[in-house]
């Protein structure tokens, strides 16, 4: 059984149908990429999984449990963290306060400090800047903070929405390195990206979203060599 199973979800914004019944799954330990153009429904999909949006029909199962109607604030505690598009760090809080917010649902104080050390080990820059106000960090540092904050909940599955958006090429490489390392340490990753080449290069499998439906899926390496994918998403 897959860790995350999304079955035929349909989502509407008022009268407009954003997702026209999509199904996919993420297995434990995988990096799965959702790629597609602007407006294809990638962010909508993630928001529906974590409960920020409601599906009109279809079902979402996480670790065998039906979470289709679970409110967003309960999902984190079940082991799923979401790094939202645009980072959404708490701009007026310090780096450390932001990280502690990530552990909001946890009650094990001592172990939270261990997790904090792990996060600092992965993002040494966050440790250097732990007292700094998050809003004054650079875009790349804010992305690291958003990822570190999500990791503070010790998730089994981490959803990342456009982690490379608006970052300089150096930071893009660094962010993708970190995603790979997060995956290596045993966290399952569902990655939404417009930078399809980068996403496909680290993912195990991928799904291509096109105006609310999945148009293609398969092993990331195969999609990377697929002519149609290359034409539409890799700019070749």
């Amino acid at each position: 059984m897959a860790l995350l199973e999304v079955h035929d979800i349909k989502v509407y914004y008022g009268m407009i149908q954003a997702l026209k019944g999509i199904s996919f799954e993420v297995n434990e330990g995988e990096i799965v990429a959702l790629i597609g153009a602007n407006g294809a429904g990638k962010t909508t999909t993630l928001h529906t999984i974590t409960g920020l949006l409601r599906a009109k029909s279809g079902s979402i199962h996480f670790d065998g449990k039906d979470i289709t109607k679970t409110p967003a604030h309960h999902v984190v505690g079940m082991g799923m963290a979401h790094v939202p598009e645009g980072r959404r760090v708490f701009a007026n809080m310090t780096v450390l306060q932001n990280l502690k917010m990530g552990a909001f649902t946890r009650r094990d104080k001592d172990e939270i400090m261990d997790t904090l050390e792990t996060v600092y080990h992965r993002f040494p820059r966050l440790k250097e800047r732990q007292g700094q106000i998050a809003g004054t960090l650079s875009g790349g540092e804010q992305q690291m903070l958003a990822m570190g904050r999500a990791l503070m909940s010790r998730p089994r599955l981490i959803l990342m929405d456009e982690p490379s958006m608006g970052l300089s090429p150096i930071f893009v490489n660094e962010i993708f390195d970190i995603i790979q390392k997060v995956s290596d340490s045993g966290t399952t990753v569902l990655l939404v990206e417009q930078n399809a080449r980068k996403a496909l290069s680290i993912a195990d499998r991928a799904y291509v979203l096109e105006t609310g439906t999945i148009s293609m899926s398969g092993r990331a390496a195969d999609l990377l060599n697929d002519e149609a994918v290359q034409k539409a998403y890799l700019g070749e």
């Binding site: 967003a72 984190v76 708490f90 701009a91 809003g135 004054t136 875009g139 608006g166």
Partner: protein, 294 residues
């Protein structure tokens, strides 16, 4: 000496404004709405305390506690029934109009129950005043208790927000509701908690206000409510220290204007100062300047 006694009276009135302004500013910071019924919650607190202490003959402290419970529950009920269904779906204007509706609703309910004749509220402050400098300066018990209450409330509230889980949740919700939900914070219950705290404080403000100015009518809360709203904007709406500073300054300006310039003009002067401050600093004295980094 008269300046000093005006100043103390101003700080005391300002303390009441500050306590009320906290309710406005917290609700605005967290739910991004202006709860114009907040002033009327003060009035309900006054009537609750009046009923307990004057009609039923209860001691001051239990009367105040019951008034706080009544207002806290009232705040949660108002939020859940009147505002919550609108906060996500409707326009901010619809919420604002609803708040004005709730304000009239509360005034009229109290009008039906207690009638329109003002009640004479006997002060619940039972400590004696101080006479300083051979009686040239007298400080009433009400003044002392009001200023102390405001300081204690500020202290407890800032500690609550910086030290407790719920306080941190309030901060997170005030910054970004969606991100707060992703952290596992229940946004609806955090908003309800904010209304509960603001309304509980309104009860204290109501009792202090009526103890110093002992006439209680269904419209008692309206003017202090507006002044406290002004104080919150003056200090920077959304900012807790701003509500404190704005409240105190407003009270002092009002009393000094009454004492030295003109009783009739005092409100005009208060609002005039507000206009000037907002022209120079549109976000208020301690308000955050909006600054976003992409």
């Amino acid at each position: 000496m008269s300046f000093l006694s005006y100043l103390l009276k101003g700080v005391s009135l300002g303390s009441v404004y500050a306590i009320i302004a906290l309710g406005y500013t917290m609700v605005y910071g967290i739910a991004k709405m202006l709860n114009f019924a907040h002033g009327d919650v003060i009035m309900v607190g006054g009537y609750a305390a009046f009923t307990c202490s004057m009609t039923r003959g209860m001691a001051p402290l239990p009367s105040i506690l019951i008034a706080m419970v009544v207002c806290t529950v009232l705040g949660i009920v108002i939020e859940t029934i009147a505002y919550r269904p609108l906060l996500e779906a409707a326009s901010p204007l619809a919420v604002l109009i609803t708040a004005i509706g709730v304000s009239y609703f509360l005034q009229n309910i109290v009008l039906i129950i207690f009638g329109s004749n003002p009640k004479s509220f006997q002060s619940l402050v039972k400590i004696p005043g101080l006479k300083l400098a051979d009686g040239a300066l007298t400080i009433s018990g009400e003044t002392i208790v009001t200023i102390l209450s405001c300081l204690i409330i500020m202290l407890i509230l800032t500690q609550f927000i910086s030290r407790t889980r719920m306080g941190q949740a309030m901060l997170a919700v005030s910054e970004d509701k969606g991100a707060a939900q992703l952290m596992g914070i229940n946004v609806n219950s955090t908003i309800a908690l904010t209304f509960a705290i603001g309304s509980g404080l309104a009860a204290i403000a109501g009792v202090l206000l009526c103890s110093a100015y002992p006439s209680l009518s269904p419209y008692t809360g309206a003017m202090p409510g507006i002044k406290a709203f002004v104080a919150a904007v003056f200090g920077g709406i959304g900012s807790i220290p701003g509500a404190f500073l704005g409240g105190i300054l407003l009270g002092v300006i009002e009393i000094l204007a009454k004492g030295y310039i003109s009783t009739q003009l005092s409100d005009a002067i208060v609002f005039g100062v507000l206009i000037i401050v907002l022209l120079v600093r549109p976000t208020g004295l301690l308000g955050k300047r909006i600054q976003e980094k992409v």
